[in-house]
């Protein structure tokens, strides 16, 4: 280890002096204005072909291209109601540039957001851009999101991960996949979101209640997974990605091809596909039995874009097969205790790609149709989506059968109609309606997990924004209605009883943004959100096989209501400091949680029972992130997040909340030659505290106590290599460099096995781009 550190040190020292003007440290400040009146334009989406990077202008029409290499670039500007502008740019040194866009009708109109109502809202948010996503490619979405400050994961070993935002997870978080609310089966910690992260060009995490924009359930926050704009410019483009993971011998390949049609102006198509296969993963000293993973995903997008009209059809298919660690499947409380008390895995195994029971097989299909049009009154959009989620779970059983013991189908249709009106007396905003129809059903012969139900829902919302010089004020209102029709088998003869539930609620939000200086801003948001109890919280009545416990639902549960306050400040001193401090406080009325009850003796021995109860919860916390450039090529960063989660009624801590954490790292960027550019070497250390904020009755509920604190070291290095004028990006990342044996409180396998050991990842990315008619640009 020391030798490795030494080598890195020497390498760093060796390259230190090389950072000349032709390096990739050029910063270009850009401003986009209206041609006629010189007013700043926002939001304008900007795209640079060669970098594959997307930007968006701020309220002052500004955006910044940082870490750019010298060279020629094609830069695109898109704004609703404005001409599509393509400029060729020759970047040689730091510069400040101005671009102007003309309105199509030559009208001096206010800019209208024709796209989703997600981008300009005032809310505490963090972003993973294209480069961050690429640097983590091959990981699951949940795992990837851990890079975002304030986000942690709830996991089942190394292959199943759910994002946790400010301590909240599962159905308290909404994931928007390409603008569509992802409806997969988030009933338990072992159900990860069914999304292929290779689809994403940009991932945004909104932290805190966001009920007004996203409707029910957005209590903890929202994850926006957004693909890039489909190429409608003539020619071909795309990229190929490869990643190899040493730990579980996992290989990932993904490819994207885009084409802009020559004869139909504005028509473009994109095809994308991903393949992934990994075997058992390795924890320090042992293999984890039956933890392989397999994924095959594909998607297609057809987009048609004109000045005042656009249409898009999107289809994606996600398909995964996941092994669940065999040792986590226990028969009764005694088995569970034995597995917990064993220091080594209770199942010994070698490496294999084969999957055995227990196992999950999930497929998710998404169809989306989007139409948008704009005129002088504003911009309309209509989005219809159909999602089909099919989850099969294969239990460890006696007898010979290939059948799954659980076959759950969840079908969801959603419709959104949105209108962004033009400025009326300086106020811009949007109104819209949402409709949802969902049905969930199991197959005959399944073990009872959640009852069949169908649920129609409808909502209407309005969000208005007013800008007064440095201050932007935003306010929104929403009204939701949701109906549940549940068919629950009950009693000894399992007769089906129908239940009807009606829920409705109003949500509101007020946001303030104050720009002290162009590089320093404050935002404050006061918002609320609500969540109806889910079918499993209402009706769960049975054994959780892997957890060896019995969970009992409660039909009388009330909806959860959350009120959150976020205050955030962002300060940016180019080439020196970047600091973000975010404080939050969230009060959740009727917070639904599992409370332990009596033991039940069955023919299998003893089981613990848990019942769904409600209390009032109060979550307070802070996320701080600071980047500092020590010298021009060397950057240090420090991130930390803290959370205090209280049960107000019991005057106690809430169970299963992420522990406080700190991470720090160094990154060194430099160029070696014209052919080897954008070289980076980085090291990262993550320290996670032992969670000591646990309920007083913890030992009775959850044995053993939360695992000890731990530090994990990661290292990375990469470069862009020019081959015949085409850049090829490659990088190597080593996670858990010291093969540290540790467990994490938020991992459901912490009772049984350690976290994954050292994992080296080799990544390769090859973008390609052809223009059919160069003279046009």
């Amino acid at each position: 280890m020391y030798r490795l550190l030494m080598a890195v040190y020497i390498w760093l020292g060796f390259f230190q002096p090389i950072y000349a003007q032709d390096s990739c440290n050029i910063t270009v400040d850009c401003r986009v204005v209206e041609t006629h009146n010189g007013q700043p334009l926002y939001p304008v989406s900007v795209y640079i072909d060669e970098m594959k990077r997307e930007f968006e202008t701020d309220e002052d029409g500004r955006f910044q291209i940082s870490n750019a290499c010298a060279g020629k670039y094609h830069i695109h500007f898109h704004a609703a109601g404005y001409e599509h502008l393509v400029k060729e740019l020759n970047i040689t040194a730091n510069a400040s540039l101005k671009f102007s866009l003309s309105h199509i009708d030559n009208e001096l109109d206010e800019v209208i957001v024709a796209d989703d109502h997600t981008k300009t809202i005032i809310q505490s948010k963090s972003n993973m851009n294209r480069m961050d996503i690429v640097a983590n490619s091959g990981k699951t979405l949940g795992d990837m999101l851990q890079r975002v400050n304030g986000v942690s994961v709830l996991s089942n070993g190394a292959t199943i991960a759910k994002p946790v935002i400010h301590g909240l997870y599962g159905n308290r978080i909404i994931i928007l996949n390409n603008g569509i609310r992802q409806e997969d089966q988030q009933w338990g910690s072992e159900h990860a979101p069914n999304i292929d992260p290779f689809l994403a060009n940009n991932i945004t995490v909104l932290k805190g209640a966001s009920g007004v924009r996203y409707g029910t359930d957005a209590i903890g926050g929202v994850v926006l997974v957004e693909p890039s704009v489909v190429r409608t410019m003539q020619g071909w483009g795309g990229e190929v990605n490869f990643a190899g993971f040493s730990n579980n011998r996992m290989g990932v390949a993904s490819a994207t091809v885009e084409h802009g049609f020559k004869y139909i102006k504005g028509l473009g198509i994109r095809l994308q596909g991903t393949l992934k296969q990994g075997g058992n993963y390795r924890i320090p000293g042992h293999w984890a039995a039956n933890t392989g993973t397999m994924e095959s995903n594909y998607s297609a997008t057809l987009a048609y874009k004109r000045a005042h009209f656009g249409a898009e059809v999107f289809y994606s298919h996600f398909n995964t097969q996941l092994g669940v660690y065999r040792g986590a499947h226990t028969g009764n409380e005694k088995d569970l205790l034995f597995a917990i008390n064993s220091d080594t895995p209770t199942i010994y195994t070698g490496f294999t790609y084969n999957l055995a029971r227990p196992m999950q097989h999930i497929s998710h299909d998404l169809w989306k149709l989007k139409l948008n049009a704009d005129n002088r009154a504003g911009a309309f959009s209509l989005v219809y989506a159909y999602q089909h989620n099919y989850r099969q779970e294969y239990d460890v059983i006696r007898g010979n059968t290939d059948k799954a013991q659980l076959n759950l189908t969840l079908n969801t249709q959603t419709l959104n109609l949105n209108f962004n009106h033009k400025a009326i007396g300086g106020i811009t905003g949007q109104i819209g309606i949402d409709g949802t129809y969902q049905e969930n059903y199991m197959q005959d012969g399944d073990r009872l997990f959640i009852p069949n139900y169908r649920s129609p829902a409808a909502a209407a919302y309005i969000i208005e924004r007013y800008r007064l010089r440095k201050l932007t004020l935003e306010a929104g209102l929403r009204y939701d209605y949701k109906h549940y029709e549940v068919y629950n088998p009950e009693g000894n003869n399992q007769a089906v009883v129908r239940y009807d539930f009606d829920y409705s609620n109003a949500s509101g939000t007020i946001g303030l943004k104050y720009k002290v200086k162009p590089n320093w801003e404050w935002t404050a948001t006061l918002a609320n959100a609500w969540r109806t109890p889910q079918a499993n919280e209402l009706f769960s009545a049975g054994l959780h096989h892997s957890a060896a416990r019995i969970e009992l639902g409660d039909k009388n549960l009330l909806p959860e209501k959350a009120y959150s306050l976020n205050v955030e400040t962002i300060y940016n001193l180019p080439d020196k400091w970047h600091a973000e401090v975010s404080l939050y406080s969230q009060y959740i009325n009727d917070f639904i949680y599992l409370s332990p009850g009596a033991d039940i003796l069955t023919i299998r021995g003893y089981f613990k029972t848990f019942s769904y109860r409600q209390t009032d919860a109060w979550l307070n916390g802070a996320d701080v992130s600071v980047r500092y450039q020590i010298m021009k090529p060397l950057e240090a960063h420090l991130k930390t997040s803290f959370l205090f989660a209280r049960d107000i009624q019991q005057r106690d801590w809430l169970i299963l909340m992420p522990a406080d954490r700190v991470s720090a790292g160094l990154k060194h960027r430099f160029n070696i030659s014209k052919t080897v550019q954008d070289v980076f070497v980085g090291i990262d250390a993550r320290y996670v505290f032992r969670q000591w904020r646990i309920p007083a009755n913890f030992d009775a509920i959850d044995n053993p106590r939360p695992p000890m604190d731990y530090t994990v070291l990661d290292a990375e290095a990469g470069a862009s290599i020019m081959l015949n004028g085409h850049p090829v990006y490659c990088s190597i990342t080593v996670m858990n460099m010291l093969n540290k044996a540790y467990r994490d409180y938020m991992d459901a396998f912490r009772y049984f096995i350690n976290q994954q050991g050292t994992n080296a990842v080799l990544r390769l990315r090859i973008p390609f781009n052809f223009y059919e008619n160069k003279s046009k640009i």
Binding site: H308, F309, H329, T330, G331, N332, K334, D335, F338, T346, I347, Y348, L371, A373, N375, R376, A377, F380, L382, D395, V396, I397, R398, G399, N400, Q405, Q413, L415, L417, G435, Y437, E439, Y441, M442, D444, G445, D446, R447, L448, P451, N452, R454, E485, Y487, P489, G491, N492, Q494, V496, A541, G542, L543, I550, L552, I600, L601, T602, I603, R604, T609
Partner: protein
């Protein structure tokens, strides 16, 4: 421009109508089945000197799958002191009518199952000693049939455990066997 809006509104209205129209009339009634439910453990005990037969039952009305387990009835195992018995264990699912014999399945997959017997106290008055049991397909213990050797008169307990996919087939305690517990039934014992 106006025509655009009209077209658009029309499309929106159409979509809304079709959206609400595709409601299905009936939600299929689920028929959940608890996989491999076991409700009853039956000990068939044959006294070797006079070949008299007794049976003892441990019954949980709804088995382990459901939270409402129903009535639990446990027979006391009353045997003569200082005798030898041949014992056969039967597992039933009495939720089915007629009752399903789960023992058959277990025997078919004998390589993946192991019965374990424990006496409390392990020795002395009221205890039971265990002889050799039957074997699985690989010649390893299955112990679905076994010999009991009763000690002197007294009171105690007998636990019968069925392990699924044990990691150690030679084990004499459930913990050492590994795997999953399918059945763990403790009978009160009286030797007289």
């Amino acid at each position: 421009m106006k025509s655009n809006i009209i077209k658009f509104s029309f499309a929106a209205a159409l979509a809304t109508v079709s959206f609400t129209a595709c409601k299905k009339d009936e939600v299929k009634t689920p028929e959940p089945v608890e996989q491999e439910l076991i409700t009853t453990v039956k000990l068939k005990v044959t006294r070797l000197d006079d070949m008299s037969v007794k049976t003892f039952m441990y019954k949980v009305e709804n088995g382990f799958g459901s939270t409402t387990q129903g009535a639990v009835t446990i027979d006391s195992v009353i045997l003569a002191a200082n005798k030898e018995y041949n014992v056969e264990v039967e597992l039933l699912n009495e939720k089915e009518n007629p009752a399903e014999d789960v023992t058959k399945e277990v025997k078919e997959e004998s390589n993946e199952h192991l019965f374990i017997y424990q006496s409390n106290p392990a020795t002395g008055n009221g205890s039971i000693g265990f002889g050799m049991g039957n074997k699985d397909g690989n010649g390893n213990p299955l112990n679905q049939t076994i010999k009991f050797i009763t000690a002197s008169a007294g009171k105690g307990g007998l636990t019968v455990t069925l392990k699924h996919e044990p990691t150690n087939k030679a084990a004499t305690t459930p913990d050492a066997a590994g795997g999953e517990t399918d059945v763990e039934a403790t009978f009160p014992v009286r030797l007289q």
